[in-house]
């Protein structure tokens, strides 16, 4: 049995195989893992089963097509797919394109940094654990928030959320961004 701290998660391995080698087998594995969760997730915010299948199709195709922009140093696969799914669902509902920030492209040409990727995965694990500790009503609120069902005002009045864990992710992300910014300096 290998030390889990030195092994990337299966999802990350699959995603990197798709990104770097256009590996269809790995994509099928990603599909089988994420598509049923995505469908369940999308249906929670009121999409019909049929509509949800369409969104799943769009999102999974986008995963294949946008794979080049996936950066495991910055986000776990689930976070990257969550963001694609929310964009797709909003574009469909509002019938206009949601404004997105400029893409942050890490063109520093640096080698993959396994310890950073593992740190991102570890933080994702902490977040998952924090969510599991929530009381049912808190859990429901946070689900609503991330399904886009609460206004920013409603979110600002929420208490008892695992915000500390979100904050540690922010620190981690910042560290990485600072590292990249430094590398970009002349």
């Amino acid at each position: 049995m290998s030390d889990p701290r030195t092994e990337l998660s299966q999802q990350t391995e699959w995603m990197l195989a798709v990104r770097d080698r256009r590996d269809r087998q790995a994509f099928a594995c990603l599909f089988d893992h994420f598509a049923p969760r995505l469908k369940g997730f999308v249906m929670r915010s009121g999409s019909s089963s049929h509509q949800a299948e369409e969104i799943v199709q769009d999102v999974m195709l986008a995963v294949w097509r946008k794979a080049a922009s996936y950066d495991p140093h910055r986000a776990p696969v689930s976070a990257w797919i969550y963001q694609i799914a929310r964009n797709r669902q909003i574009d469909l509902v509002r019938r206009e394109k949601r404004p997105l920030p400029e893409e942050w492209i890490d063109d520093t040409g640096s080698e993959p940094d396994a310890s950073q990727i593992l740190a991102v995965e570890q933080e994702a694990g902490h977040l998952k654990a924090a969510l599991a500790r929530l009381k049912p009503d808190q859990r429901e609120m946070i689900e609503k928030a991330y399904l886009g069902e609460l206004t920013h005002h409603e979110i600002s009045t929420m208490t008892g959320l695992p915000l500390g864990t979100v904050k540690s992710r922010i620190r981690l992300g910042l560290e990485r961004l600072r590292h990249e910014l430094k590398a970009l300096e002349p």
Binding site: F27, A35, R37, S78, Y82, Q89, A132, G148
Partner: protein, 211 residues
């Protein structure tokens, strides 16, 4: 590296990440994030929380037809979505609304100019250009107003706002932003209700008085 001191409030960043922020405000947040590594990291952290929930969502069976369709489409050629590059002081999300063109300025008097980028029932996005030392025209806003500095700086009762800084004001904030000395201050401003410049009224009445 980054000298930004006024950021997107965290609840707003979460709402943006979840897609619950009105379109006009989303434009301002997307623009600020384009300029601010700290808020980009914050946004990505919220994506991380969303992703953790996604991982944890009970599965719903996806039909074999959908799976087959996706796998069959992998080789289909596709047109990537257009990417709008930063244009001078205008980050990608603003360049997109400008459709890659320079702003079409309209004068509001006293050297103040505006360029409306989008205006709907649900809100407006505009660029404001304020000469050094000049106050932003007196304007009422019912809901929330977000102002992001793209060039120069302004100061009001709550502090000083320089390039990249974001001010979020609700109706309770009586403020008079004044552009600081130096460069012309150019801001991206969004409201969730139509904005009315009171200073516009006398100007509109002028032709009548001239008759």
């Amino acid at each position: 590296m980054s000298s930004i001191t006024h950021h997107v409030p965290d609840a707003m960043l979460a709402a943006y990440a979840a897609g619950a922020l009105p379109q006009a405000f989303s434009t301002v947040v997307a623009t600020h994030v384009s300029l601010c590594p700290e808020c980009r990291a914050g946004m990505e952290a919220h994506h991380g929380a969303g992703g953790a929930l996604l991982e944890d969502t009970p599965e719903a069976t996806v039909t074999q037809g959908t799976r087959d369709a996706v796998l069959a489409l992998l080789d289909m050629p596709f047109v990537p979505e257009p990417v709008y590059e930063r244009r001078g002081i205008y980050p990608g999300p603003v360049a997109e609304l400008l459709k890659g063109q320079p702003p079409q300025w309209k004068t509001l008097g006293m050297g103040v100019r505006q360029s409306i980028l989008s205006e709907t029932r649900d809100g407006s996005v505009r660029l404001l250009s304020i000469p050094p030392g000049q106050a932003v025209p007196d304007h009422g806003h019912n809901g929330i107003e977000m102002t992001l500095v793209l060039q120069g700086s302004f100061t009001d009762e709550t502090g000083r706002f320089a390039a990249g800084d974001l001010e979020v004001a609700d109706e309770t904030l009586e403020h008079t932003p004044v552009a600081d000395a130096g460069e012309t201050c150019i801001c991206l401003a969004a409201t969730d209700a139509p904005l009315r410049f009171r200073a516009l009224v006398p100007r509109l009445l002028q032709p009548i008085f001239r008759i």
